[in-house]
């Protein structure tokens, strides 16, 4: 067997986690990622996690951005981190089911329910995960060094457009985020206006889908 021939059979879809506090813009980010990835020919599906509803899944199904059948909903019924870290079985089952229903799917986006700064994903569930915070949550969030901020593969600081309206020094917030993460990626986004999305998609294509 040669080095170049080591890929055989079906390669599992990459699983990409999106975590972060309530209201930080996780669903809005998914709504930006879907068309951006689709435009690049990525075959994708989405799993949303909510506490006791399927609100986010319904929002995406109604969006017209994606085949509604490609959106699955998981209800945590408890703290959201319990089903993305402690026992991610429900989400693993949901992802497996999507792969069975849509053979050839390349990427599954798993959006966590809104949680606190200690929220992290199990590597049994996701191959790569990002943590989304936003400027209106306060510019002190990065320096509080929560595990989500520190351990995520990429930290996304969203709603940059709101910085002047909520008294946030965006440059300092970004600098502190980069400092606490020791050089690991930090991306700035404004999902409302689509700013910064291309950089994240580029990173997904390179580090997750291995297209480049």
């Amino acid at each position: 067997m040669t080095v170049q021939e080591t890929i055989s059979g079906t390669v599992p879809a990459a699983r990409f986690g999106i975590g972060g506090p309530v209201g930080s813009g996780k669903t809005a980010l998914v709504e930006r990622l879907i068309p951006a990835l689709t435009a690049r020919g990525v075959d994708l599906a989405v799993i949303t996690n909510d506490l006791v509803t399927i609100e986010d899944a319904e929002r995406l199904r109604r969006s017209g951005l994606i085949d509604p059948d490609r959106v699955s909903a998981v209800e945590a019924g408890a703290c959201p981190h319990t089903i993305i870290r402690e026992d991610p079985t429900l989400n693993i089952e949901a992802a497996d089911a999507l792969e069975r229903r849509f053979p050839g799917v390349e990427l599954i986006l798993l959006e966590s329910g809104g949680d606190n700064l200690a929220s992290t994903f199990s590597l049994d569930l996701t191959d790569f995960w990002i943590f989304v915070i936003d400027v209106s949550g306060g510019d002190d969030i990065p320096r509080k060094r929560g595990p989500g901020v520190l351990k995520s593969d990429v930290l996304v600081i969203n709603k940059t457009d709101l910085a002047p309206h909520v008294g946030v020094d965006l440059a300092r917030m970004e600098a502190e985020a980069r400092a606490v993460r020791g050089g690991r990626p930090v991306l700035m986004t404004d999902c409302r206006h689509g700013e910064g999305i291309d950089a994240l998609v580029e990173l997904i294509e390179t580090q997750v889908l291995f297209r480049k």
């Binding site: 067997m1 040669t2 080095v3 890929i7 055989s8 390669v11 599992p12 351990k151």
Partner: protein
């Protein structure tokens, strides 16, 4: 980029070991050093010690291990090597302290294992970050480094 999927074998398997030995004579072994705390990944991108950019994935029911052979042909092989796992060894003063230490370690989701009366915490980051979480137990003399 070299794209590989799956694990071909174990470096210590006699048959594989013989093949690797032959390649070794041709300077054909490349090592992919995977940080211990990243070893649970099923999909990752890293560069070998010879500079080959590797995009690696394994099946969901597979687990990467130290010595996993990820690619092999007549001229070279790529073998995964784990960095040494950093461990913080802690010993509680007594039963009460052990209960408190165990409670904190669980609550903080620390990865751990036991070695007799010692709790070994498998570190994913700087030890001082961990130490700060149980500073009160250490300051009270309930827990000390083993």
């Amino acid at each position: 980029m070299l794209r590989v999927h799956g694990i071909l074998g174990r470096a210590d398997d006699p048959e594989v070991h013989a093949a690797l030995h032959r390649l070794e004579h041709r300077d054909g072994i490349e090592y992919l050093f995977v940080p211990a705390h990243e070893a649970g990944r099923k999909r990752f991108r890293l560069t070998t010690d010879r500079g080959t950019d590797c995009a690696v994935s394994i099946d969901r029911d597979q687990a990467l291990f130290d010595g996993a052979v990820l690619a092999m042909d007549d001229s070279r092989a790529i073998v995964a090597r784990f960095g040494e796992q950093a461990v913080w060894r802690l010993i509680p003063r007594d039963t009460e302290a052990a209960l408190q230490l165990g409670w904190h370690a669980g609550n903080l989701h620390w990865r751990g294992r036991f070695d007799g009366e010692v709790l070994e915490v498998l570190l994913d980051g700087d030890v001082d970050t961990y130490r700060a979480r149980i500073a009160n137990l250490i300051d009270q003399g309930l827990v000390r480094d083993a």
